[in-house]
Symmetry: D2
Subunit: 377 residues, 4 copies
């Protein structure tokens, strides 16, 4: 289905080569300042042609809000929006009319719906993510009022990775380079790799990492609406994503509980003593602050946020559309050689960063509203 | 929320130390033979005390179907079921009344709901998964009619792993050992590791792998209901899960598109020739079968099943409850030493295998039913 | 589907002649005192055999809460509950095995599901409403904390009706007679009519009226979740209901706007003056209370509660099961004479009063919780 | 919320004086011919200014489909659409900036959202129904393939009513007069009444009746998704609706079961005999057709369609906006005289006919898809 969320909901529509893409944001609380410049700036982070690392397609991608706003603020009613399609070069796809591209959604869409819309992927095109970025920007404007912030960055491209522990990174540097990696030196190597892959007409995968700060305790609805299950579903719904983990994720499988449990303790030890021994067996001083000594868990326990930063990572495959000849079959089952002429990204990571942030923001705001709704006030 | 699924839905209830756990399966198609022995046998695969690898708790765990069945078959109306709790040893938990266990849901539940139900984890207990296994068994009975089969197994415990490619494993061996690993030699080493960890009062994580065969093309609803997004949400909702991937997952991030694209081709080459060159540029012989030459994608493209086996992996952390002393704080913020006395699993993987299968079965059946609504009949 | 509500949700199961009926209440806020005596007393208002006006079936109908309660209070986790079936007299229905009763759900269930569960109506039996009454009682306990009260009563049986304007009735008298009509004289005539109809082996319809007081302004979600649309769906889901109206309902169709608009005005006129003229064209005194001079609208405008009492009426048909011979057909299309032997109500109104209240309470609590999500807090 | 439906879903947006109204239709089966002329013609039936009976506002109301269509047919992906607003005369509403109109949604929206969008009712404006008519037209195009037809008409205006039994009306005449009543003589009197009321600056209510033919047995999901409960919720969500009934509705409350049960019988009696006696006690001839001898039930039993025509009636109040002076209060609680200058309908019935049809079509198609999805094929 094309709706995401329970109380803060995005319903999205649009294909790459139709008249427009757009959506409806339902459940945006009333009275939020809908800063159109900010929304547009988020879209600009996603748009093609922004650097030599991305496709050469130029898409203006101006968002128009059609409803739900009055005198600059949200009214509580649904926010309809559209982004017109342009610069479509549909002709680029004529040679694909009867062809299934390898590892692409062409075949599965055709079999599911009985329709072959060959123009640039149709609904399976990444252009669909425009709606996510617009809704995510609106969610961010809401979260800003709550002191909650969502950040994502390119943590790995191919085999080149920056530090995994985000506290050792300077996240203010994310936007300082085209690849959106907060480590400048690593970013440079990532860019070199992407340019090399591009030169070969090939594509490359990678990992986007994210952190959500300022989240209160209590978000997430047991047992099936666990916060990380919602977050995972959000991320896995993005094109080209193959995996999701939170906290230490897959790296936890060969650890012992005694290694990765997050010990709770008073966090303000008395002078001269080590933290835990100081209070052991005694009453903590009144007003002592306590918390966890580590965050292996990634800010979520039992599916509910625990107040610590929420950390997660998303695995992207190398996108399927190569600018190389590949063997495949046509709609009749005959072998063909596919040679795409479209303009495509050699690596989706740089442009996927704002999409990951958008889906995280929508998920967290939705969880916030649900949590707020489920207690009598 | 405590409901999973759109058309085939499980609504679950129950805490570890209440009167019963249970649930309601809504949307089970009518006329399915509800083989109670099979449902019970699935529960038995999950139950504690089944081998020396698991907790010593003995839970009879007899399921009672209360509705939705007439003369042995489903009627199309909701199937209510309960499993009474017993052998509860609530006393084991008295010392935890005011204590938050490290990396446990105690604290987050307490803050979210304002209630401290200290008896064995309450709703966050793995006993909640009983309902999933019952619903999953019913889903399996439906899928069996469609020729769809779900299999899961312990692929890794700590750093001991069997072959990742399931086609090189003999899945009929899964139930032949206590750890549920289809490679007998590896299974033995896993068991040794678990016994060692148990001896130390510690816990260990691992990976469960799964494969779904017989799935038709077309399951999964773009764009937010992508099949792997639903499957991921299902898996991430299981206690102790920290990550999910499908197909080659995280291992794809450092690959090139040209390495991991699944090439489509006629699959029955003429005598004497290699497969693809034989047909190149020619019409394939009438009736030629074609398909993909590999399955890096894991059976899903663009969020829709492509008819190949669906493969996925689920990362489990070492469970938080150790039989060791650990530092923590109590409800007043005072430091305490926690020393659980309950009976707990040193490694949840063996008993989690049927839970993973259950959630996969529910997800696939739900997607199957949803797909039926895609075209007018 | 068998789930009602968005945030406060009842999932219900059970047939008249299965092992039990029951349900799961999900989304009950934590910390609510779950007064079991009150819940049982609500069930007792619904149970058969409570007076000579109802069926002679005796059903003990003891509710058992299985989860979601700790030390007498709700924990925020789902509340599972069951009521065992007993005194089933399934033999009464043997003669119906292959017969479709006129105006009954036998035929439609059979065609929809392909199963003929002839024992007392199966899922279409009014026994299903037990779950509604239990969930409604829990909802009432929540609403009580908010100062919201739901009352329903038998306003009409056949052509015998009491006053329609509830402000002219003494609602404290509802439970003072078997028919649950707050006008004692009218109640007596209603009872006589029901006894007469019963003597003839026939059945009779009627109207249940309801009022919800203490409801704050703002409940109801435009545009499809209008409060009265939710309330209407709730009422129309009750067996034998044929119509729903709120405020003056159908009686408004031949009125003019100038007759039925609810004029807003300051409600505390200065001494000696009539209300509206006094302030006309002037500032109202600071702190003047204002409101509507009438309530033709029934407490809802634009689908949102306006703070006035919410009034509605529900039309019940005479139930289809007569204790008379009726012509019909069997499963093979052959004509038969149906002569039910079961024990049935000649008029469902008296026992339906608590069901109407229950569905109203669930609806209002759900709307209350949803409204809490409308603005960021 | 602003989404209606489960599998065939409309998500709607837009205010009367924003840039556009529109929506997203999700779940439209693939391959349906989306006849744009038909969709536009349905909109034209709803538009203002179409006759002297309606408001003088001229709204061009051209619909633009933005996605989900390829070469004239639905693709299975969401259909986004917009209708630009124009001819807004916002100035007409300046005098209402701080005023609450009697019996209007001004006050409840203001209190719920804290925003006063005074321009023509904002989201509560009937302009919102444009989206319903577009989605309904798409639903009708789907239903046409299934042989299902939805018809509605003005059955009563004020106290002037045509025949209630639709089988005695010639429904082909509905569009032959401005009031959309299939009885020409009655239509003329209705028009006279409306013109008289209009001359007085007043408004008048009425009843729209509807019938759905060609519906197969089996639509509707027990117990909360009863077909008439869904239909009722659909109708009650339309502006100005105060009541809903199906079959004989409220007229059944003073009937006996023996009067209104729909007797089932073979429908092709042998020569010379009366219908029922002919077969009594004998086998019906092979292939004998049987069915109900009446349709008091209105085509639904136990919440499931029984194959007979589905009949229902919808009560509309006189709309609240009069072109008369009315007393009210402003946002500060001061008394004011409201004198609307906008252009408004004296009677909404004629233009509401296509809206009722649209909501019925959406409901029935959704029920059809649900029923189709819930059985294994």
């Amino acid at each position: 289905m094309n709706t995401f969320g329970t109380l803060f909901r995005l319903t999205s529509f649009g294909e790459s080569h139709g008249a427009a893409v757009g959506g409806v944001v339902d459940g945006c609380p009333a009275g939020i300042e809908l800063d159109l410049d900010f929304i547009q700036s988020e879209l600009d982070r996603r748009k093609p042609g922004q650097s030599r690392l991305t496709t050469a397609r130029k898409e203006g991608d101006r968002v128009e809000l059609l409803s739900g706003v009055f005198e600059g603020r949200s009214t509580g009613t649904p926010i309809g929006f559209i982004v017109r399609n342009a610069d479509q070069h549909s002709g680029d796809y004529d040679n694909l009319r009867d062809v299934f591209r390898p590892s692409h959604a062409d075949y599965t869409y055709y079999k599911k719906y009985g329709v072959r819309d060959h123009r640039g992927g149709g609904r399976s095109s990444a252009r669909e993510t425009i709606s996510r970025v617009v809704a995510g920007a609106i969610a961010k404007l809401c979260l800003r009022q709550l002191g909650i912030e969502v950040k994502a960055w390119t943590q790995q491209v191919g085999d080149i990775a920056c530090e995994r522990d985000y506290t050792r990174l300077d996240l203010s540097l994310i936007e300082s380079n085209d690849v959106r990696c907060p480590d400048a030196a690593v970013a440079q190597r990532m860019e070199q790799l992407i340019m090399q892959v591009k030169g070969e007409g090939d594509t490359i995968g990678g990992i986007i990492a994210g952190v959500i700060t300022g989240c209160p305790v209590g978000l997430g609805e047991p047992v099936f609406g666990k916060l990380h299950a919602q977050l995972g579903a959000a991320m896995l719904s993005i094109n080209a994503v193959k995996g999701f983990e939170y906290g230490e994720g897959f790296a936890m499988v060969d650890k012992r509980g005694s290694e990765v449990n997050d010990i709770l303790a008073p966090l303000s030890p008395p002078e001269g003593g080590t933290q835990l021994e100081a209070y052991k067996g005694n009453e903590a001083p009144s007003g002592a602050v306590w918390g966890a000594l580590s965050n292996h868990s990634g800010g979520i326990q039992g599916g509910i946020s625990n107040g610590q930063p929420i950390t997660f990572r998303v695995a992207f495959k190398p996108v399927a559309t190569l600018l190389q000849a590949q063997e495949s079959v046509d709609i009749h089952g005959n072998p063909v050689i596919v040679h795409p002429r479209g303009r495509h990204d050699p690596c989706v990571l740089p442009r996927a960063v704002p999409i990951v942030e958008a889906m995280a923001a929508i998920t967290i705001l939705d969880a916030y509203l649900l949590n707020q709704a489920t207690q009598l006030k």
